[in-house]
């Protein structure tokens, strides 16, 4: 254990903690742009500077270990001036389009510019221009807005273990990109989007779908069995974004399905009315010998994709829409008939690992108690 003093307050932290860890423990706000608690320290943005009594130059608190007896100051006119200058430099070639930027309101850089009152920029320099070549359907990269904090590079390498992007070039031309400046071709987990402090990385499907004033609802991801906690961002009865909070079981990490796979909720293919069959089953016979046209997938430069409706049935061709009452009466009558003629064990129920536990409970109770059979199962076996 190490004990040190920060802004006059004593604090004890574990060995190998950084000064920043100690500062955070005391809940003292100091700005950071490149630090992430789960990632290796980087020390790139220089905003987390602190003064240590006895050493002449300020140091980056995120890369300096706390030592016994240190006396640290986190704010002083000199530090604030240094921070402001650093920010001015970062902002000098930053596009000034906050009003239409996806990240506005949730942007660390914007927040700091506001805090330090940066309006005019004394360094007004040359603007970087990068060609946009994002063919991928998930992640929009606006590299003019990149501040080179490297969080995306580190998260992709250290957490995701993929390493799809890295720093390239040097000096003013430094940028972050996939090898050979190709388009992103990765697992599209979107972890990089989640940690990006500015509008450089955003979700493509978020575009103009709203930034704030969402109703947020915490729930659980509907895909695999990990049970990741997700937050749905709702606008007018529509899920417009999915995110995940850091203090969750999944530490805020998601996969492509969880983060970007919510479009099915509002798919035009959703069933909206009870349907009763009108044509005999042979008409909608399912083609058994099928072919799979080898469309060039997106990753090979092709457009790819099959329109969803091209592979769903057209319900109305062999079904008619009915009211719920009609559907319930019809089902009840048919099931009662079958039960009478063949006994309850001629009826079976398949429940769903996609539905809630409560629904599963009711479903098995319906079969065991109402129909009177133990023929009830679900797809645990596939």
């Amino acid at each position: 254990m190490v004990t040190l003093k920060i802004d006059g307050q004593k604090v004890t932290v574990r060995k190998l903690s950084t000064i920043l860890d100690a500062v955070r423990k005391l809940d003292i706000p100091i700005p950071t742009l490149c630090h992430h608690p789960e990632l290796s320290p980087f020390g790139g943005c220089r905003l987390c500077l602190v003064e240590i009594n006895g050493s002449p130059k300020p140091v980056a608190s995120c890369t300096t270990f706390a030592r016994n007896g240190m006396d640290v100051t986190t704010t002083s006119p000199r530090l604030e001036k240094l921070r402001k200058t650093t920010l001015e430099l970062i902002l000098s070639d930053h596009p000034k389009d906050c009003m239409v930027c996806e990240r506005a309101g949730d942007c660390k850089l914007q927040e700091l510019a506001y805090f330090y009152g940066i309006r005019e920029n004394r360094f007004g320099g040359e603007q970087r221009v990068y060609e946009k070549k994002d063919n991928n359907p998930f992640i929009a990269r606006d590299m003019e807005k990149c501040i080179l904090c490297g969080q995306c590079v580190r998260i992709c390498d250290e957490i995701q273990g993929v390493g799809a992007i890295d720093f390239a070039y040097r000096g003013l031309r430094t940028k972050i990109c996939p090898p050979f400046e190709n388009d992103l071709n990765c697992e599209f987990c979107g972890q990089c989007v989640a940690v990006c402090p500015t509008g450089a990385l955003t979700g493509k499907m978020w575009d103009q779908k709203g930034r704030q004033n969402f109703k947020e609802v915490d729930t659980v991801c509907p895909y695999c069995g990990c049970g990741c906690n997700i937050t749905l961002h709702i606008w007018r009865n529509e899920v417009r974004r999915v995110s995940s909070k850091e203090e969750t079981l999944n530490e805020g990490w998601l996969c492509a399905k969880g983060r970007f796979g919510y479009g099915f909720i509002h798919s035009p293919d959703r069933l909206k009315k009870p349907l009763i069959r009108t044509a005999p089953k042979d008409i909608s016979a399912f083609p058994i010998h099928q072919t799979n046209p080898p469309l060039p997938p997106f990753t090979k430069g092709g457009r790819g994709g099959i329109h969803p409706s091209s592979f769903s049935l057209h319900p109305l061709s062999s079904f008619k829409e009915v009211s719920w009452d009609e559907a319930f009466d019809y089902i009840a009558n048919r099931l009662k008939q079958i039960k009478e003629n063949y006994g309850p064990d001629a009826i079976g129920g398949l429940s769903s690992a996609r539905c809630t536990s409560e629904e599963n409970y009711l479903f098995q109770k319906f079969f065991r108690a109402v129909i009177g059979t133990n023929n009830i199962d679900h797809c645990a076996r596939y």
Partner: protein, 536 residues
């Protein structure tokens, strides 16, 4: 065996393992976030043993990769255990105090020398020994498996072998130490817990056990059947035989997910009456007499139980489209038509009713899981939940060793069908694709089905990446695009089963594991031919 099918540890415990043994689970693609925790453990110094016929992504992070031939897991595990016994890496105290049947079980391992293991599995004896030492010497090891273990005609034996391995080394009932089957669907754990399995009521209370039925009869106020029910795969068979006349399918798509699609379709067509309740017009719904529109996860309140037994809150965020209704309301309404009142005021009442009938849930209510979930067993309102199982004791007292012998898969490659086909999921799509294939961006990255073929096999077949091939088994034929890949071994091919236009399950075998009734989806024999004119 020692208990029910659930993870014995919790997800946060993963990062503290010192050895992780992944067998038959492509974790980073099927359970990406659990995959992240494994990678985190490796970063913190854990060593990873991967046993998989394919060079899955986790292999990059592993200390040893055991590329066993599909269907030879028992031989692989037995030979690892042979080495553990021989090197005396067993936990004698644990074996004595908490297990029974070790002596005769030990005998059964004698034949499985590393050499014999190598002969059957194709994994080198050095790697078998290395894996045995890694696992045998571990302090906090975890075993992870999924359908790669269970979807075999000898799936139950595979699971027994894994249990034996953990028991003989005493690697159960401690933090970050245990056996963890990863469940594939968001709420497959919940559906099983809630008794949507033919032989058990909720909470794994056996239908045929004396007193249990009476307990439920009393609680539900209705007479219950004492005939054990059929499993899903048995129901399909019974439908073909005309014994099952009506099926009610809620939120499943067996046409694509079950083995031998022709067989499934025939069975469903033979029914007098089929109800399908779903959010999309699935391939199964095409065969229905009535289709009912259901609400999806974002349109209802309730709970999901994740693969680590954690009960978590699902919340309604939007209204369902059109006249679609929550599944629970549909069931209640239908029950009314039968003169049975299943109505509830709020959905939590249903959860409470379940908690009254299964003590493991009794301590959980919606208020307690408002922010973070709780892991069952959680018997009382001040119980903190159970992150890991079997601390100090097994529910049945002592755990038993079950000796298992290697048995080949039901269908092996032969002259006519020379390739071994394995099926599974990949990262971007989910299960039968009824959801993900309707998410435009996902469909753009992963638009069409493919068959993974080893480069040498591709050469022999004279096919290149992007070519179309015709793949046939004894049950059917599909045409599909070739992906030349070093992931499968020579002679083994892989097809993801998400795609209806080239459905892997046209090919698969319906042979079942005699105990679990799980079909052998992970191994069947196929023939591959080049298609001369590429299909339109």
């Amino acid at each position: 065996m020692f208990g029910s099918g659930a993870m014995t540890n919790s997800i946060p415990e993963i990062e503290n393992h010192d050895i992780i043994f992944v067998i038959g689970s492509n974790t980073t693609e099927t359970h990406p976030i659990i995959g992240l925790k494994m990678k985190k453990a490796v970063r913190r110094g854990a060593e990873l043993i991967v046993a998989d016929p394919r060079k899955i992504d986790l292999v990059r992070f592993s200390s040893v990769w055991l590329q066993q031939r599909p269907g030879t897991d028992v031989a692989l595990l037995n030979s690892i255990m042979h080495v553990i016994v021989k090197e005396d890496l067993i936990d004698k105290k644990f074996i004595m105090e908490r297990t029974e049947g070790f002596a005769s079980f030990k005998e059964s391992l004698l034949a499985y020398t590393p050499e014999e293991g190598e002969r059957i599995t194709g994994v080198s004896r050095e790697d078998i020994i290395k894996a045995a030492f890694l696992y045998g010497n571990a302090v906090r090891p975890g075993i992870y498996y999924t359908m790669g273990i269970t979807q075999h005609t000898h799936g139950t034996e595979n699971v027994y072998a894994i249990a034996n391995l953990a028991l003989m080394t005493g690697n159960l009932g401690r933090e970050s130490t245990g056996v963890n089957p990863l469940r594939g669907q968001n709420n497959v754990q919940g559906a099983t817990d809630m008794g949507c399995i033919p032989d058990f009521y909720l909470g794994y209370q056996k239908v045929t056990m004396p007193g249990i039925r009476q307990k439920f009869e009393k609680a539900w106020g209705i007479h219950l059947s004492d005939t054990p029910g059929l499993t899903a795969t048995e129901m399909t068979r019974a439908a073909l035989e005309g014994k099952i006349k009506a099926l009610y399918i809620m939120g499943e798509n067996p046409v694509l997910s079950d083995p031998d699609m022709n067989h499934t379709i025939q069975a469903l067509k033979k029914l007098d009456f089929l109800v399908v309740q779903d959010i999309f017009p699935t391939e199964t719904a095409e065969l229905a007499d009535v289709i009912l529109p259901a609400a999806c996860f974002a349109e209802k309140d309730g709970t999901f139980t994740n693969t680590a037994r954690m009960v978590q809150r699902v919340r309604k965020a939007v209204e369902p489209p059109g006249d679609a209704k929550e599944d629970s309301l549909i069931i209640v309404e239908l029950a009314k038509r039968f003169g049975v009142d299943m109505t509830y005021d709020i959905i939590e009442d249903v959860f409470r009713e379940a908690g009254n009938l299964w003590p493991a849930l009794a301590g959980i209510n919606y208020r307690r899981i408002a922010k973070n979930g709780l892991q069952w067993p959680c018997p009382t309102h001040d119980h903190p939940g159970t992150p890991y199982l079997f601390k100090g004791a097994f529910p049945r007292g002592k755990a038993t060793f079950t000796a298992v012998q290697f048995r080949p898969s039901d269908e092996l490659p032969d002259h006519e069908y020379p390739f071994l086909l394995s099926t599974g999921r990949h990262l971007f799509h989910y299960h039968t694709g009824s959801m993900t294939r309707r998410v435009d961006p996902i469909n753009r990255v992963s638009p069409c089905a493919y068959i993974e073929i080893h480069p040498e096999d591709a050469q022999t077949l004279n096919v290149r990446e992007g070519d179309a091939v015709r793949v046939s088994s004894r049950r059917g034929t599909i045409e599909i695009m070739v992906l030349v890949s070093g992931r499968p071994a020579k002679g083994v091919v892989f097809i993801p089963f998400h795609y209806r236009e080239a459905a892997a399950n046209v090919l698969t075998n319906t042979a079942l594991d005699p105990i679990s009734k799980i079909p052998e989806l992970k191994a069947c024999a196929v023939r591959i031919e080049r298609v001369e004119t590429s299909p339109k």
